[in-house]
Structures are given as C-alpha cells and as structure tokens.
Point group: C2
Chain length 572, copies 2
C-alpha cells in the first residue's frame, strides 16, 4: 500500500496520558486513539496487527479441534442469576435495562452463555468432547482502566470453553489448549513462559498463565534455573527447608528493648543494628474463620494467596487497627508472637532456622531481642506462606529459583463442574444416567497480546514488530519523491515485492527523509529499503533491519531477491 | 471435517417462534439459537457461513480502497449530544451509565465516533479522500425484533464512511462503493438489484438500497421492464401522464346519494356499482406546516414519503378524528374535496383523466356521484404522490413498470456535511481555508445477507446455499458407517478431496441413511456424494446436486476429479 493513502496519524510527542511504552508507542504510531476512559478505536495500522494476531489464534484453535462460534455481547440477567454470579460479580459487570425494563449486562465473560448453549444442544456422551471458541469484544468496567489497550474496559478476547464427560477427558482438553497456546505465542514471535497459576477458591492445580516476558511487565514470574518449573508469584512454591534442631547453646539472653517510634522492619533493624532477616514479621489477619497471626522472616514477603489456600478460608485480609490492638495490646508495628494466646498462629518455613531473632514486644515502642523457638515460644504450624524470590530453592529439583517480569496474555483454567452443576448442563452417559459435564475455559487477550509484544520489543525510536504480526514486512522509502528517477526505482521495487506476495508499504509522501525514517522506525516495519542518491548513481539500494545492524547495499536488480532472502532468515 | 465432531444440532420440527423461512431453516440447521428477544448465538455451521460472507465483504472493501478499523461499541453520550442526536434518536438507542455514572449508549451506528476520529487525525486536503470501514456488532433496541437474525437487536454490520474534500470527490467515493457493493453481492452468489431509495429529510438523490430478490421479502421493488430503472416503493417515480382537457359534454348531473355506513372504497364502490378507480380517495394529514388534504384515485395507494418530499415538511401523519371533523364537518370515511376551503389540497396525477367520479359528501352517510374537475371543484396542485404499481409507466423510458419483492441487505448514502458541520470535522484546503468534509456512509447487514440468501434459495427440504457462502462444498455420506468397506471408500474420498483443498464434511455418524440425507439437505451443502452398496459392488459412488437434478454415477477412481469438475461448473 501507499503511505499517502493510509491513515497513519503518527505523533511527534509522547501523549501525556501514556503510562507505559506500548500505550505511548501505539498512540504515537497511529495504531489506536482513545474515545473514553478504557475505550479505544483501532486505526488501520493497528487493525492490520490485530487481524494478523486473530488469524494465528484462529488457525491454532481450529487445528486443536476448536469450533468457532459467536456469542451475544448483551446478555440477559436470568442466566447470571442462575449461575449465582449476578449478585456476586462486582461493578466490573456493567448492568443495563432494555426498553422493556428487562435486566441485561455487557458480557464480561461468557461462561453462562456458553453453558446455556451447550445444555440446550448437547445431550449425549456421543456428542462430547467439544471445544467452542469465539473472538469478540468483552466489557469490564474497571475502576481504573489504564495502560492503553493493555487494561481497557472494552477489549478483544479469544475465549474458548471445553466440555468433557470425565476428568480424564477434561485433562486432555486442557492439555490440547496448553499446546495450542504454546504454538500461538510461538507463532506470534514472542518470548513467553507458561506458568502455574493459583486456581483460587475452585481449587485443583489446573491453571496456567501464559506470560509474555518484558522488563516492564506488571507480573513477577518465578522460574527455576535448573528445570522447567515456572509459576506466578501467587502460586510459586518454595522447597521446604530441612528441619533444623534448635541449638540452645547459641541462645543469648532474651531482652526487652525500647524502640521509640520504630515500626517498620527497616527502622527496627537499623536502630538495633541487625539485618532484616533477623527479624520476625508478625502480621494479623481477619479471615472468614476469625483472626489469624502469620509470621515471616523480616526480609521475606507474606503471600496472602498461599496463606488463604493453606487456611482454606473464604476471605482473608489484613486486620484493622482495633483487631490488632485487641490481639496484641499494642498499636500496629509492635506485634510479636510472645505471649499470644487464643489466636491461630502460622509461621513460614523460612523462620525455622532462626536464632536470636527480634520481634515486636506487644507494647508501644518496645521490641524483644534474642528470641528463640522452643525456649521463648512455640509454633504449632509451619507452612509455605511467603512469596518466592530469586535465590529460593525450586520445589521440584532443588536448583535456585530466579524471577523475571512478564505480562499475562493468556490464561487456561480447568473449571470442573462449577457452571454445569449450577446450570444443569448435563449429558446422558452410556448407561443413560445424567451427569454434569466437566468444563474448562481458556482466554487470550488479543489486544493485550499486541501491547505485550510491543512492551517486549521496542527501543527509543519506536516499535520493533515481530515479523508474524508486523503491519507490513517491508517499507520502501524513496528519499526524495520529487526525484522521478528515485521514484521510478522505488515503484519498480514496490511492484516487484507485491508480485512476490510480500506485504510492502511505499512511503510516497512528499516529506523530508528524516521524517520518513523516523516514521518507519516508529511504526516498526522489520525491513526498511532506502532508495536515494546511490540508487540513481550506483544502481544500489540500502536494506536495513529495524532491530539494528548495518545497512546492506544491494544492486537494484538483485533487490527483490535479497529482500525476500532477508525476510526468510530466522530472527529478522 | 467430520460431522460427529461438529456441533450441528439440527431440529426435526419447525420452531414455533419462526415466522420466516430463513429463521426457521437457520434454527433447524443448527446455525443459530436464540438467547433473548432479538439476540442470537451463532453456532459453528452458521459461523462458517458468516465468516465467508465477512471475508468477501472485506476483500471487496479493501479492493475499493477501504481501510479497516475497529470502533468502540460502547460510546460516550457527549458525541451524540454534539451531533444533536442524543435527544432525537428514539428508544432504539440503548442508553446506559457506567460505574462512575457517566452516560453511554450501545452503538446503533457509528457516524459520531468516526467523525470524531477523523476530525482528530485528518487535517489537510492532502490526507483526503479516505474511506474507513469496520465489521462489528451494532445494537438497536427494536420494539419488535423478529425474523431471527433478519431483524435482530444485536447484529453484525459492515459500516463504511467516506470523507471527501468536495461534491465531486464524494460522488466518486459513492460510485466506488456502489461498484464494490455490486461485486460483493455478485460474489456472494445472490440475485439482487440496486434500487434508488428515498434520502429522507437530507435530500439529494444519492441513496441506493441493495435488495436481494426473494418472494418472501418484506420490501417491494419497482423495476422497469424496458430499462435499468429500479427503485423502492417509497421512491419509485411514475411518468407524468399527458394532460387531458376535461370534456364537459360527457359530464353527468352531479347528485348527493345516501350511503349508510359505507366508508371504505370497496364498500362504496360495491354499493354504488362502480369500480374503485371511479372514486376519489380523500385523505386528511396533519403536517408540521398545518393540515393538508391529499386526493388519489380509489384504486391507488397514497405514498406518504412522496407527499412529504413534495410538501418539504418536517413531519406528516394521518390526521386524528378531531382534525378530520373540523375540516370536513363529517366523521372519517365521508371526506370529499367539494366545498373545502382554507386547506391546502394536492391531487395525484392519476386523477387528471377522471370523469364522473365519486367522492365523500362531507356529511355522515352521504357520497356525491358524477363529480368533475372544473365544473364542480378545482385543484391548484397536481403531483406524483402515489406508490408505483405494476403496469405504471417508467419515468425514464415509458415502458411499463413491474414489481418484485426483496430484502434490503445494503444501503449506501451520501451524507453531505450533516455530521462534519455539527461536529466541526474540517480540513484545510490548498489555500489554507477550513472546510467541512463531505461524507458518505455505507452499510451491509452481514447476518441479514446470509438470511436473505436463504430466503432466496431454499426448498421444502432445507437450505440451498450458494457455493461462495456454503459452510462446506461437499458432504460425503457413507450409507452405513458400520460397513468397513463403505467407510474405507468414504474416508479415501474425503481425504482425496481435502488434499485438493476442497471443503468437505464427512458424515461419519452411526445414523440411519434417511436421517443423514435429510440433514445434508437441511444444511444445504451444494454437492452430496453417497457411498453405498454400489460403491462396494460396482465401485461407483453417486453425486447429487442439492439444487436438484438426477444423481450421477461415477467410478470411485474418477470421483475426486468428477466432484472437482462439478464444483467448477457455473450454477452448481
């Protein structure tokens, strides 16, 4: 296509509202424009990228046996009442009434609709398994939409739902989706990891997040340096350390010390001239089963998801001031395990080897030093309740764990019978008995994937698109469009590439070369072909990769073949 | 694909709610299911047809220079307030508030959003013309959604918008879309007509509807038997008849006669033993400019759109009883032109040649016979205010007009500056002056087109899909799946067709042949290949076209080539 005929409204300046690189660059490259908070229009260049991404997703879903459907976006409340989510789902679900005053919502997800469809159309074990998917918009009325299309309110999602007759079938369906997702992100040209994810209150260990690796990612991924283990921080386990018997010979004399206004780990450690790892952090929680005290080492982070899963409680949150005072008889910042009674206490495994530790004194401005297990207090329950960090030990192979940052672009989840039981989505088995179907659900944020690709691959000059989703593979830039010889050479090259089926953009704008080069870099086309003076004088054009490296001079006659060769090289 | 692995929930019985053939057949063929009034899920078979339709639309839009975009479905009220449509648009626009109590609507159309996008990204004549399109859902909260996806509330539409610097450019953009639409419906394999349509209050003669011809269509299309003229009934003109001078010699004596309780044309004509064409129908309207009386021949239909366009009034509707009584001094059913004063009166050209006519007597239960122009009353204004009917004369060539039924699937419209002026969507011309852009808008109902294709092409047994949008081109039916020889032959054929890139469905279900044949007919696959006893005993398979004709016996070895040959024949 010709640049002059495409709407690519690039911006010279960074938009003030842009908080992350992908948002800034998609706006600057003229790919998206904001219409309202969290609601974006996709412009032609962005749409080309989105369409390519959708096509790869579609092909791999079909290859994995998925059947494409298209489900309503405006959904009747009745189904959500039936599943029990109408009341439970928060304000992210936008509710509305039609002209007849009937309640509807804008689909934030489609479990209810698909379960209704399947219960009405499938009734025999012979029709199962099936996997139905769609690529469509969703609406989630986020309280704080941000980061452009990374966390928009209206966004494009591929969502798939599998229905099986038994657990084994459901696991097979899950495995197929795991493989399909791996192929999808592979084909999109992204560096990614599939990580184990927390399954929340449903339980089971069948949930993986697909994370695009990027330094700017919001999520922290824990990976093993020795094996394939990878998990998100909520989920990542830490190998249980060997039990250490306390050595009373090393115990020093326990002492209460004044620590005026010293509340945080850093303040106390600095004041007492010890390391944060020598402190016991004491956290009071309110859970649906009553107050709970959790102990972790001063340099470790409590992991509330792990703690909640360990406790198997419905809700868990840090306690309010009044609960803390009731339990510790002191304001926040001075809690400690000594002398605590009538409250359940769980300590992290990381504390087991601690000797002569520091804790709060359960009294304003007082801490206790040289605290030791057994001698000074006992803990009934040790568990893995802290977040894994770099250097922790892999639960599978014992190698050190590392951390890296990523962006969640896909999530696969074994749902079990949550929806099929609530909505009576059953099949008749071989014996004619009615059984609930076993479900799975599988999502990919399509726009989010494009944004993540940009987070992963950009530089100061703009986007560096992976080939599979680049809006064009080649941009041909005549340095001076008024020079008819240059323009003729550029046009010939452009037509030659088109004939070979190569997606090429001809920058036929009458603009200064600096602007053209800047725009070509900004919109991230993998190969730039420059037709300038050398083309006229030496019959040579320049080929340059967007990702870097020197320009290559090629004879005009060999240019099409050379470009095609460069595009076929891996890594271009 | 294998039938057993596809969700095709065919129905034996007609769904009670189905009002038209396409709705009935799409539900029976397992293509769609209703979720709520006017809200449908598209199932795998339907989705294949929709995707093929979308792809043809997309290719032709791109070929015509359209650039694909993707615009928000949830739209902020501010833009509609700015265009002036927030208050004017009726209840079809579903309004809602987000969690922050901000007003939004579900996009019933996208003029406001696209105009906002273009005013913010285009500012120079050098960036024009452009044509932006999307394929996306719309929501119109119809008071009476019906006919399945033919008139749904949530539906898929291709909408395009063009922006030009002047009228000439806008006409060229319009022409391109006219041609693109013609190619689209041609490629979809549909019999259609582009007809002139009324432009409503905006005026101008740039509006065409694309009508798929079908006996079951809601719309009546007027076409000339002698030339290319075609228009919808609202718009279709009738050649003005030659003026006829009244011949007083033939005038009979005017008489008032009693017509007790005779109000309708049929009642009065029957009672007086005359033809309906001998009556003058007198209709009283209330318009934004006051009451108006319209006269048409008893056997003709008033055309309110033509009348409104002639009067150039903003609103026009049949008058209420009190207005009629005030003007005619009689109840509804006895109005006549005699003695009427102080009201504007327009007579249709079709009355000009009338002699000794019958009219209401402006008195209960009284009509007047032998009424003649000039002698008994005069009319200042004659105009073309009736609907064209078969046999009327073409305004272009003088041949008789014919009527046919159709379904509107596309509409192209020259908008002019309505939105660009209201929303200040301007460009700088070569002299640096700010000018409003000239817009056009162009829609295709994607689901509606599929439904119309089915209305046009089906029989008692089911759908007869045109090849370009058939979900599969061939269905291979082994008569008895338990016969391993039959099944082997069927599989070989299936694989042979797949290798040639032919979309084929293998009915591998263990069902009775009658059910398989019925389903194959119902879902409308163009070619059915039967593998039965003959395949085992004579090495022959049967090829049969869905649209009819005898089965053809073909040797197994030649089957793939024979099928490919049949598919390449025009008209299959």
């Amino acid at each position: 296509m010709r640049y002059s005929q495409l709407l690519i409204p690039t911006l010279r300046e960074d938009p003030a509202e842009a908080e992350v690189a992908s948002q800034r660059l998609m706006m600057r490259a003229g790919m998206i424009r904001k219409l309202a908070a969290g609601i974006y229009s996709t412009l032609p260049l962005g749409q080309r990228v989105i369409q390519k991404t959708k096509q790869i997703v579609r092909e791999e879903m079909n290859r994995a046996g998925g059947q494409e459907v298209f489900l309503p976006f405006v959904q009747p409340a009745e189904l959500w009442v039936e599943s029990g989510r109408w009341e439970v789902y928060g304000k992210e679900m936008l509710r509305l009434k039609d002209r007849n005053d009937r309640q509807f919502c804008l689909g934030p997800t489609h479990e209810e609709v698909i379960t209704d469809l399947v219960r009405n159309t499938v009734n025999s074990y012979r029709q199962l398994p099936i996997n139905l998917y769609q690529i469509h918009i969703k609406f989630r009325d986020e309280i704080r939409p941000r980061f452009g299309i990374m966390r928009a309110r209206e966004f494009i999602m591929k969502d798939a739902y599998s229905f099986d007759i038994d657990e084994k079938g459901a696991e097979e369906s899950y495995r197929k989706m795991y493989e399909a997702y791996s192929r999808i992100f592979e084909r999109l040209g992204l560096k990614f990891r599939a990580v184990e994810a927390d399954t929340g209150p449903i339980g089971g260990n069948f949930s993986h997040e697909f994370m695009v690796l990027a330094d700017t990612g919001e999520d922290i991924i824990v990976t093993c340096t020795g094996c394939e283990y990878a998990a998100n921080t909520e989920k990542a386990e830490i190998a249980r350390p060997a039990a250490v018997a306390p050595e009373p010979a090393a115990f020093k004399e326990i002492l209460r010390v004044e620590t005026p206004n010293m509340r945080t780990i850093e303040e106390v450690a600095g004041f007492l001239k010890v390391e944060p790892k020598d402190l016991i952090k004491t956290l009071v929680f309110s859970s649906s089963d009553g107050p709970v005290v959790a102990l972790v080492r001063g340099d470790h982070d409590i992991n509330e998801v792990k703690l909640r899963n360990y406790l198997k409680c419905d809700t868990l949150e840090l306690a309010e001031e009044d609960v803390i005072e009731k339990i510790t008889s002191a304001p926040r910042g001075f809690a400690g395990p000594l002398g605590m009674k009538n409250v359940r206490m769980i300590a992290d495994f990381g504390l087991q080897a601690g000797v002569n530790m520091v804790t709060g004194g359960n009294e304003r401005d007082v801490h206790v030093i040289n605290v030791n297990f057994e001698r000074d207090f006992t803990v009934q329950e040790f568990a893995d309740i802290r977040s894994a960090a770099a250097g922790d030990i892999c639960p599978r192979c014992g190698s050190p764990l590392a951390t890296t940052r990523g962006i969640e672009v896909g999530h696969i989840f074994k749902l079990g019978t949550k929806y099929s039981k609530a909505m009576n989505c059953c099949y008749l088995d071989q014996q004619g008995r009615s059984q609930p179907m076993i479900m799975g659900c599988y999502g990919i944020g399509v726009g989010r994937t494009v944004a993540a690709a940009i987070e992963q691959s950009h530089d100061d000059n703009g986007i560096i698109f992976p080939k599979p989703i680049a809006p064009f593979l080649v941009i041909v830039v005549p340095v001076n469009c008024k020079d008819t010889v240059q323009m003729d050479i550029a046009l010939k090259l452009y037509n030659g590439l088109l004939e070979r089926g190569i997606e090429v953009l001809l920058d036929d704008r009458d603009e200064r070369p600096g602007i053209k080069f800047k725009d070509a870099d900004l919109i991230g086309i993998p190969l730039r072909v420059t037709v300038g003076k050398n083309a006229v004088e030496k019959q040579q054009i320049d080929i340059k990769e967007r990702k870097g490296g020197d320009a290559q001079q090629v004879a005009i006659d060999e240019a099409v073949a050379a470009i095609e060769g460069r595009l076929n090289q891996p890594g271009v």
